[in-house]
Amino acid sequence: MAAAPGGMKPFYTALGVVAVAGLGAIGWMALRPHNSVAIPVDVTVLAADTAGFRGYLLGSAQAPVEVTEYADFQCPGCQRFEMMQFPTVRRQLIETGRLRWRYRDFPLDNIHKHTRVAAHAAACASDQNKYWEMHQAIYAGQPDWESAGDAAGFFHRYASTIGLDVGTYDACMTSAKYAGRIQASQNEALKLNVGVTPTFLIDGKLYPGGLTSDELKHLVDSLAPPPATP
């Protein structure tokens, strides 16, 4: 038997209560402070910011060739290189001791609003010796966070996923203590007339737009031929 329309009132009231309570809770969670972080731009670089630091290194100190990469975490070209070329470079050249990689931040703040926060998140991961894990997570997640209103939440997630002490990471992000280090890195790139990202510096020569893994291998082979196998 069909219920009388009047008998539906408690049901619709219950639906209304659930909808209002649910949307209210979601709204509160979306609008509450996100522990958002802002990394200042154009800060004065202090000597302490760069003491003993000239980029994030990967590979043997004895490697005969070094590549310095100037890159921006929010740049799509840098992401493509990181995801498609770098694993091969790492396996073929870095892990075999033939190449040392030096990563330097070159944040393009005017077009990439999250890039400096991303660079700082990676710097905070380096405090806990997980720079490259964070570096990889940030690039892998770039399609997710690059259009977000606030990317810091994504980086917080990556910090948790790669196993950082999240409390220490949060404190590092809030302090913005690596703003000077990032600025120094950007200043260095500007001084070298780096104009695009990624740009590689190899044996004193700049390679704007980067190189593929094959091109890098040929270059390394020409600069430091591999030892002949018997």
């Binding site: 069909a2 219920a3 329309p5 539906m8 049901f11 219950a14 639906l15 659930v18 909808a19 649910g22 949307l23 809770a25 979601i26 969670m29 979306a30 509450r32 996100h34 522990n35 958002s36 997640g141 997710d144 966070w145 977000a148 209103g149 606030d150 990317a151 810091a152 939440g153 994504f154 917080h156 997630r157 990556y158 948790s160 996923t161």
Partner: protein, 141 residues
């Protein structure tokens, strides 16, 4: 009738949970309120996408469909019709199987539990039971 009302209420609660998870995934909700669970680990794992689509978005669409069907089923014109019960059972069965797959992934592949996912799994289980009971009752009468 009452069972369809319960189904509508349950699917509305599920819709809220799935919406929250989806808003988190697209960066609108900053950090997730999760208690001692491992929501972030689960939500950033590769199992948080299914065939390239966010699982939470599939949840939003699934709950929305179940809410629509159960709400339609309580309307006077459709209260005596059987198709809403069948459609609800079909949707709830799909949701239950998918939820079982996700729970398996949490327990045995990710080795972490997201409390919101558990809430959603319980809602889906209740929805299935309500849908099944409603469908059987309609068949018997």
């Amino acid at each position: 009738m009452k069972l369809r009302m319960v189904a509508a209420l349950l699917s509305l609660v599920g819709l809220m949970v799935a919406t929250y998870l989806y808003l988190y995934k697209i960066g609108i909700v900053g950090t997730m309120v999760c208690g001692t669970g491992a929501c972030e680990l689960v939500q950033t794992s590769r199992w948080s996408r299914f065939l390239g689509v966010e699982v939470s978005l599939l949840g939003v669409l699934g709950y929305l469909a179940m809410f629509g069907v159960s709400l339609a089923g309580v309307q006077p014109a459709l209260q005596q019709r059987r198709w809403p019960a069948s459609a609800l059972l079909l949707l709830a069965t799909g949701a239950l199987l998918f939820s079982a797959y996700l729970t398996y992934a949490e327990l045995f592949l990710i080795h972490a539990i997201c409390r919101w996912c558990v809430v959603s799994a319980v809602i889906v289980l209740l929805l299935f039971l309500v849908a099944f009971y409603g469908w059987r009752r309609g068949r018997a009468s």
